[in-house]
Symmetry: C2
Subunit: 351 residues, 2 copies
């Protein structure tokens, strides 16, 4: 009796069957807890499983059932704390339900985003969590629509009428930032963002402007949106200050922007918050240990992941209601980098 299959070197369900003196079908039943198997056979099967070290091949099993217990995830990058913890949470949640998460990175490329969603489709994943590069109208989302894929859109998205969406309530977070800045006395704020992230930029910008105007009608809001990449933003920001613009605070709509702003301040010898205040989207561990500590909008990563998976598995189970749009709230951590505006020239400036 061959104890091991010839090809893979691992015992198959047939090896277990012959070892236990039953059929493969019976083994399958035992493995799935079907109760109509004679107790004696159940025992024999378990014994065989034990001695052979048998473990089912989930992919072969999925093939037959025509339903893969795999959830695909596509995020714009792996390098940030935000998406890193997002993947961690999604993975945990998927595994809790007996699924495996296959996480991929679009590396901020819409072309790659499309390739990835196609691969997910090729893999016949049960569902997809897509964090698009730009917004809910990107190529991947379109592909999902055209191919009736089941999935949920997260992060850089607004409400959509084909898919459920979950994203931080950027608008209200921005309103909170505006309120905090106004309260400190700021009346001239520079907002920087990435135009590429169409969905969220709009919400964050509108939320800020609306609240600012309401709370301080004399508020001046400058805006720098870099279309494609972070590089141009760096230049635009430098030009902006070089032309003499002197906002008392900068609000960055995305994580890298906060770094770009800090870098520009450093270049000019400006200190936070003495010379200029700074607050940005996305918290990071380092922000609470540096000098100064950096004020940040904390996105509810856990809630986003949890809610996204909840509705995704609802859809997988066949729920057919209209798409829902969730907007879990952010938290604002006003740290040292935000102070009252100073009067008079900054460090390194002539009168």
């Amino acid at each position: 009796m061959a104890v091991r299959a010839a090809r893979t070197g691992r015992p198959s369900i047939h090896d277990v069957a012959s070892h236990a003196g039953v059929s493969a079908a019976t083994v399958s039943k035992v493995m799935h807890g079907v109760t109509t198997v004679k107790p004696d056979n159940v025992r024999k099967v378990y014994a065989a499983v034990e001695t052979l070290g048998y473990r089912a091949d989930p992919l072969a099993s999925d093939l037959r059932r025509a339903k893969r217990r795999i959830i695909g995830a596509i995020v714009p990058e792996f390098e940030s704390e935000f998406f890193g913890s997002m993947i961690t949470e999604l993975e945990r949640s998927a595994e809790q339900r007996g699924y495996t998460l296959v996480a991929t990175s679009s590396r901020e490329s819409q072309d790659r985003e499309l390739e990835l969603i196609q691969r997910m489709q090729d893999w016949r994943v049960a569902g997809v969590i897509l964090a698009p590069v730009r917004d809910e109208h990107g190529p991947a989302a379109r592909f999902m629509r055209e191919n009736d894929m089941t999935g949920v859109l997260i992060d850089r998205v607004l409400a959509d009428d084909s898919f459920d969406t979950v994203s931080a309530d950027s608008a209200s977070a921005s309103a909170g930032v505006a309120a905090a800045l106004v309260e400190k006395g700021h009346r001239h704020v520079l907002v920087i963002g990435l135009g590429e992230q169409a969905a969220t930029v709009r919400a964050r910008l509108d939320g800020f402007k609306a609240a600012a105007i309401e709370l301080a009608p004399d508020m001046v809001t400058d805006i720098i949106l870099s279309e494609s990449d972070v590089g141009p933003l760096r230049g635009a920001l430098h030009d902006y200050f070089s032309k003499g613009s002197r906002p008392t605070a900068v609000y960055s709509l995305f994580a890298k922007g906060t770094l770009v702003a800090l870098s520009e301040f450093r270049r000019r010898g400006w200190r936070c918050p003495e010379d200029i205040s700074l607050v940005g989207f996305d918290d990071a561990e380092w922000m609470q240990v540096t000098w100064p500590t950096i004020a940040a909008v904390v996105q509810p990563v856990h809630s986003i992941a949890e809610q996204a998976m909840d509705v995704l598995f609802g859809r997988i189970a066949g729920y057919g209601g209209k798409p829902v749009a969730s907007l879990p709230k952010c938290q604002i951590l006003m740290r040292e980098s935000v102070g009252a505006p100073r009067h008079g020239p900054r460090a390194g400036e002539d009168s």
Copy 2:
């Protein structure tokens, strides 16, 4: 003629076959570029593929070939820049060779590490890149050995005689740090690390001590190793300073330690580098934009990933030589957080 398969809703190879008026085998041949197919049939198959939007199911294909074009990766966490870029690089490299990377996180747990490697085995992946929680003797590596899995160990590992290993040359990097600190005039350095990461801690520590003693025989090296977690380290570090120890520099052997050190300095009102110098393993984007900029050892992420994948695919291709141990070099960025030791009491200290 049924254009779509009943079960998955997607056309199968048989749909293409009947649509093109050939057999499934012929379609398969065309898809694989076999040249013994009549040009006319090639054209017909392509046409059918086009109109049906056919794409092969890679998992079904792999099942039959008894070889999955999947590489599994297990890293301790997704949240750090280091492992984030590592996954990005591994993914890129795997895809270049026509494989899909399935990345998972052990969340710094050895139990989970074992479960994950078992799942990789269940999935019959072609190979595994394992970044163990602790070292090359962990449960996952043992499982790989016992089950003849093909894989490569990276990061927190030393040379191994079952598996190829790739990790940054921690010892020489630490020697470089020692040299730089000695050169600045430091003669009392505190080194902090995580005992849990047995493999790298040893190399980094030994490298530092050896070089320090050689370059400055009067060097005093204090060491705090927190066994399990970062939490205890925080306490130990606080106690250490509270007891009056006054090194002029701190060298952190791991990324989080750098944050813990900064946090402790902040708590005491000490400034870098005026009151104490700081240098740590692992660079991060924020380190070059904060005040002060933080000195760091930059690990060669790209090289590690590239070399690991090179040797992994060599093994997959059947190469049977003895395991190799690669040690790509680190780069040391000595930034503002490292200065000459000051004389006299620090800020906030009596006498």
